[in-house]
Symmetry: C2
Subunit: 284 residues, 2 copies
């Protein structure tokens, strides 16, 4: 039987207690100081699990979704407030229909220092660096692939979009909430970090001199990925070991999250198969 | 300078000449006898290129898009009718705003026999078989990855959705219009085809006994992929060489198009690098 949990009914869309959920799309665009929105059951369960890097500030559920999620809330040592509302009130709060009927506000907390995310030399370390990725689907997809294929962390340059945007979290299957991540100003800072930590800088680019599959096993690497279209800047590629994926004639390129997955499978697959993987071992 | 092309102005949304464009979303759901819709410049250019397997029946452009696409139309030996309309008329025809302002109707023609798409033994042949894939994004993504990574053709079971659905074509970056494809009734028919043509049947599944990267080079294979969630049916897996992609603990799975790309990169990458690839050679 599902456990009973205490919920706070909300009847007034202007209730100040649910103010962080108001005008959701408008705030998606301008960002939220210190907060982010989680939408849907799969990602809410990740946020409430022990694996998430972030705490939930509150939860807002459509009335008929409460029973189905009670187990995840009841399992928390200290549950955040759970608000419940009718579909009509929920839509009035957010400004558009929330089909899933499941929302939460997460707290960003303080961002870790990028250097703290690099497993110490000479141990195994595979990191991903995103340069100028402005598409939330691609950033979400890259988190999913990096988490699934055993990367230790994702580093973002200043131009890459927010992985804690609602849709990016959803596309990441919740891994944007679990995989360590930090932001650096630009590609130069990413390359300097690679040098400080003895990581081989790799650039994935159609013009790469070596193929991904011919790359020998590397214990420590930073894989840099640029946006589809522009790709990585030439001066960045010049400072890296440049890798390409062999492609059919007449086909331009793969999606960047897919290309990243192919490279990570090659880089991290061996470590995963041999279970020499700190990120994996740190997960329940 | 852009060439001049002749267009047929449309002022009346009920004009019978543009009837195939009417009530677009409703017809997306029920299907169109013998026709499909192409949306956006990238995919229209693929449809009009020599690489497409299909002919265009007609083109419908927002007035301001005509000049920018005139080169692709003027290059055709026999251009189909090009209708032009204001944005308002175009939206009235289709029933919703067409932001891209670029549409065309393609003709399905007669579907090739699946057996005709298999390069003859003992030559190299890598085919992809989709079993029960009902998500248009995933099917479009798989076409893009199969085309880019050198597969010869994609075979679909009866439950897999239509790769010529508007959104699937767009996600495929137009490769749904170029990569050979045919439908078979079910997974049994896919396995029988593999046997007839000396293709090693491979099943990608989290429960696979071998890892993808440990698979020795295969000259002839049919890679079967199932939907995320249910995956391939157990009796199908039992008749295949079952492959897995090593994953981090705590992460369920990759997106099916991404998993397929990793397997195809391993299967086809060697052939692409050595240019022993009929599909590639047949492309301009």
């Amino acid at each position: 039987m599902a456990p009973l949990i205490e919920t706070i009914p909300i009847d007034d869309p202007a209730d100040p207690r649910i103010a962080p959920y108001a005008a959701m799309r408008e705030r998606d665009l301008v960002g939220r100081a210190g907060r982010f929105v989680v939408e849907g059951e799969v990602t809410l369960r990740v946020l409430l699990s022990g694996r998430a890097r972030f705490a939930a500030e509150s939860i807002l559920l459509a009335e008929e979704r409460v029973a189905g999620l009670a187990d995840a809330v009841a399992a928390l040592p200290e549950a955040p407030p759970v608000y419940s509302a009718s579909r009509a009130v929920m839509s009035a709060i957010t400004g558009f229909p929330i089909h899933r009927g499941v929302l939460a506000i997460g707290l960003r907390g303080s961002e870790p220092a990028p250097d703290a995310l690099v497993p110490p030399s000479p141990g195994r370390a595979i990191l991903v660096g995103l340069v100028g990725l402005t598409n939330h689907d691609n950033v979400g997809g890259l988190f999913r692939n990096a988490a699934g294929l055993g990367a230790d962390a994702v580093l973002l340059d200043g131009a890459t979009c927010d992985p804690l945007y609602r849709k990016a979290i959803r596309v990441s299957a919740g891994t944007a909430l679990t995989l360590p991540s930090a932001r650096l100003p630009d590609a130069d800072a990413l390359l300097a970090l690679a040098e400080r930590h003895d990581l081989v800088p790799l650039a994935l680019t159609p013009a790469g001199r070596e193929t991904v599959s011919a790359l020998p096993p590397l214990r420590r690497a930073l894989l840099l990925l640029g946006a589809e279209g522009p790709g990585l800047p030439e001066p960045v590629i010049a400072r890296c070991r440049a890798l390409r994926i062999p492609m059919s004639a007449g086909v331009d390129s793969l999606n960047v999250a897919t290309a990243g997955a192919i490279a990570l499978h090659h880089l991290a697959g061996h470590h995963l198969a041999t279970r020499d993987n700190p990120w994996q071992l740190s997960q329940p």
